[in-house]
């Protein structure tokens, strides 16, 4: 710690404290977990109230697409972790490539999601559709939660992609480098959060039957 440097010019460097930065990002991740935690509470309450209807509705989800997306996201977590390792070793272009690969995988996840959702819509499964309103309330709740929770998760995937985009710019410019990479670690942690939320969404919606 260089607390002695009091010149205003050196402010940016005097403030550098990677542990503190990581405390900040972890606290932020807690808030995200609790944000989704609220939805998991809602899910738990309604599944407890309508176990049979949740089971029936879950059969209509495509487990294959869900599994593929799980594999895609897990792989993307690996690539982002490797990119941090690469920057620590000073291999800038490899790190850049790995973050880029993460972006590609994230996009693939969203494309899958898009086809999955449009298929559901074509079957008349969307909120307030005539088809949905004929179904028992447990199934309405199941699909309501399915769209809301995976939708919010997809939003986080998009935010994660934006964050990783900034990281790529910073790596290319050299502001994220071998000695200063806490921001990339923060971006990676956020990406792992997106991943772990999916790890819970996947069994709770796709593997019920």
């Amino acid at each position: 710690m260089s607390t002695q440097a009091s010149a205003a010019v050196a402010e940016e460097h005097a403030h550098r404290d990677d542990v503190g930065s990581k405390i900040g990002i972890w606290l932020f991740l807690f808030t995200e977990l609790i944000l989704f935690g609220g939805m998991f509470i809602v899910y738990a309450v309604y599944r407890f109230a309508h176990p049979a209807e949740f089971h029936l509705a879950a059969i209509e989800l495509d487990t294959f697409v869900g599994t593929v997306n799980t594999i895609i996201l897990l792989t993307s977590s690996l690539t982002v972790a490797l990119s941090i390792r690469a920057i620590q070793d000073g291999r800038t272009s490899l790190s850049l490539l790995l973050v880029g690969l993460t972006q590609v995988l994230a996009a693939a996840f969203l494309v899958n999601k898009y086809f999955e959702w449009s298929h559901k819509f074509s079957l008349g499964i969307y909120p307030r559709s005539p088809e949905m309103l004929n179904r028992p309330s447990g199934e309405i709740l199941y699909f309501g939660l399915y769209f809301t929770m995976t939708g919010l998760h997809a939003l986080h995937v998009i935010i994660g992609m934006a964050i990783l985009g900034f990281m790529m710019v910073s790596i290319a410019r050299g502001t994220i480098n071998r000695t200063s990479h806490v921001r990339l670690e923060a971006g990676g942690l956020y990406w792992h959060l997106v991943d772990i939320i999916w790890i819970f969404l996947f069994p709770l919606f796709y593997l019920l039957h």
């Binding site: 405390i23 995200e32 609220g38 939805m39 909120p127 309405i140 709740l141 769209f147 809301t148």
Partner: protein
């Protein structure tokens, strides 16, 4: 502006900034400037909410229509609640005095994430403006009450969505402030300042920050779900689609009960700062006060369902939530005992800040005891949704936090603005505000206990006498507030320059100039003793007496 005779740097008002004029403020990452920004914007919202409250009291002067239509009254109590809670009392002490004082009190140059701090303020202003804009959009202002209970918040045609999005944005701002403070307190304390040498206001901010970080996301997701429900009709809370409105209430209070501790804990911290300074004594039971802040934050997060004893819950659930509610009173009482013990045999100087704090102690105790009454299952069913609840809440929030905020304003005003205010008008305003407050809210407790329901536009004639007394109280209160703010505003221009340490405080913010220089400390101080060492002081230094 630098005075060549003194070695001190220019104060933060006169330091040269990258941008001039207003941009030098709204783009500044200096914690002191951000604190002042919060102060100004919060006072604007506070004044609007006070006026709405004043109009509500005027409407209740007589049964039936007095000045406004029923629908207008509904939007009045909704906006009064939303603005007072989300724009004034939740950000209140942490955002203004926490921002300004926290780095000074722990011997740091700024908060850990200065830019994030500025973002918090921007979010705060955005949320505040959105809440105000929702008033004037077609559809009319929200009329659900600040609680946004479903199913009415799903059905009403008024602008619920902008109001909820505003609350969501304000919640995000609150989270970022909390996150920033936790990191700052962990990483930026001056060398030698271990956890038990921190001022108690810092302990209070620390406990508050954890509640902000851990509870606020729940209100975020809950409001978001209602917005999704309104826009897409997914059926999460809507009973016609199988949803459960009571689940909404649970989620709402899982945040909103801890939120009342976000509101009160910093106030308790302010009391612990002011009392030792004006009693010239080391605080009694430092560790108990510090731990009780943490205990309040902990227990306070587990009592939310006591707002819902009448909506249907198992007897076991009711029993547990009632018991936990009683447990919260223990750490709160510990604080009161310690404060009173600090005053005992102290060399008390009855300055304005201490007067506000003495009112605080009595009013907060009344609020606390009525809170215990509400926690009793049998009484709760009798007084649920009456003026008794409203009276209790205002005794804790206004009589408590509001007075702590006024106390903090009078205590730290010289440090923040570098001027002394006139003491006599400050004392007169204290007297009027205290009398006005009690005349306004004591009848709430009485008529509530007799059965006057909250949020009703009309009432039975037998309640009129209480409503009249209460409305008269609101006039006294407003008069007191006017004197207070005019006095402080006059002091900004005409007040005599404040010395570095006008009250003889022993915490670090009093070791720097008033107002402080940009970087706060020339050299970061090394800490060897606790924060309230009064063995050296006998009286307030003569130059300010």
């Amino acid at each position: 502006m630098g005075n060549p005779a003194s070695l001190a740097a220019p104060d933060f008002y006169h330091v040269k900034t990258k941008h001039g004029g207003i941009l030098g403020w709204i783009l500044s990452t200096d914690h002191k400037r951000i604190g002042i920004l919060y102060f100004v914007s919060m006072m604007v919202f506070f004044s609007i909410a006070v006026v709405i409250g004043f109009l509500m009291r005027l409407e209740m002067l007589s049964p039936g229509r007095t000045i406004v239509e029923p629908q207008t009254y509904n939007t009045f109590f909704t906006l009064h609640g939303i603005m007072m809670i989300f724009l004034f009392i939740i950000p209140g002490l942490p955002a203004v005095f926490g921002n300004f004082m926290l780095p000074l009190m722990i011997g740091a140059k700024d908060v850990f994430f200065p830019r994030l701090n500025l973002l918090s303020w921007w979010l705060f202003v955005t949320g505040g403006i959105l809440a105000l804009v929702s008033l004037f959009l077609p559809g009319g202002a929200a009329d659900t009450g600040w609680t946004f209970y479903v199913p009415y918040s799903i059905r009403t045609s008024t602008n619920v969505i902008p109001a909820m999005v505003a609350a969501f944005i304000l919640g995000f701002s609150s989270i970022l402030t909390g996150l920033n403070f936790i990191t700052t307190i962990h990483r930026m304390r001056a060398p030698g300042m271990d956890w038990f040498k921190m001022p108690l206001f810092v302990w209070a901010l620390y406990s508050t920050a954890w509640v902000q970080v851990l509870a606020t996301p729940i209100i975020g997701i809950t409001l978001l779900l209602v917005v999704v429900e309104r826009v897409f009709g997914v059926g999460i809370f809507d009973p016609t689609l199988g949803g459960d409105p009571v689940l909404y209430q649970h989620l709402f209070w899982i945040y909103s009960h801890p939120a009342v501790y976000i509101m009160i804990l910093p106030g308790l911290g302010v009391v612990s700062e002011i009392i030792p300074v004006f009693a010239r004594r080391t605080i009694f039971g430092y560790k108990f006060i510090a731990y009780s802040s943490v205990a309040i934050a902990l227990f306070g997060s587990l009592v939310w369902a006591h707002h819902m004893f009448t909506v249907g819950m198992s007897n076991t659930g009711m029993f547990i939530f009632s018991l936990l509610t009683f447990l919260v009173s223990i750490p709160s009482a510990i604080k009161i005992f310690n404060w009173v013990a600090t005053l005992y045999k102290g060399s008390i100087e009855l300055e304005a800040p201490l007067l506000f704090i003495l009112s605080f102690i009595i009013q907060f105790s009344i609020g606390g005891f009525t809170g215990l009454m509400l926690g009793v299952l049998a009484i709760n069913i009798h007084v649920q949704d009456t003026y008794f609840v409203v009276g209790h809440f205002h005794y804790v929030m206004f009589g408590g936090t509001g007075f702590a905020l006024f106390g903090a304003m009078h205590y730290w005003f010289p440090k923040m603005f570098g001027r002394m205010y006139a003491k006599k008008p400050a004392v007169i305003s204290w007297l009027l505000v205290t009398i006005g407050f009690n005349v306004l809210y004591m009848p709430f407790l009485v008529m509530g206990y007799m059965g006057m329901p909250r949020r009703y536009y009309d009432y039975l004639p037998e309640f009129q006498v209480y409503h009249v007394i209460s409305t008269v109280g609101s006039w006294i209160l407003i008069a007191g507030l006017l004197i207070m703010f005019v006095n402080l505003l006059v002091a900004l221009r005409r007040g005599s320059p404040a010395p570095a340490n006008p009250w003889g405080g022993e915490t670090l913010e009093w070791t720097v100039a008033s107002p402080p220089p940009l970087e706060n400390f020339h050299t970061i101080p090394a800490i060897t003793t606790g924060p309230y060492d009064y063995s050296k002081y006998e009286k307030i230094p003569a130059e300010v007496m």
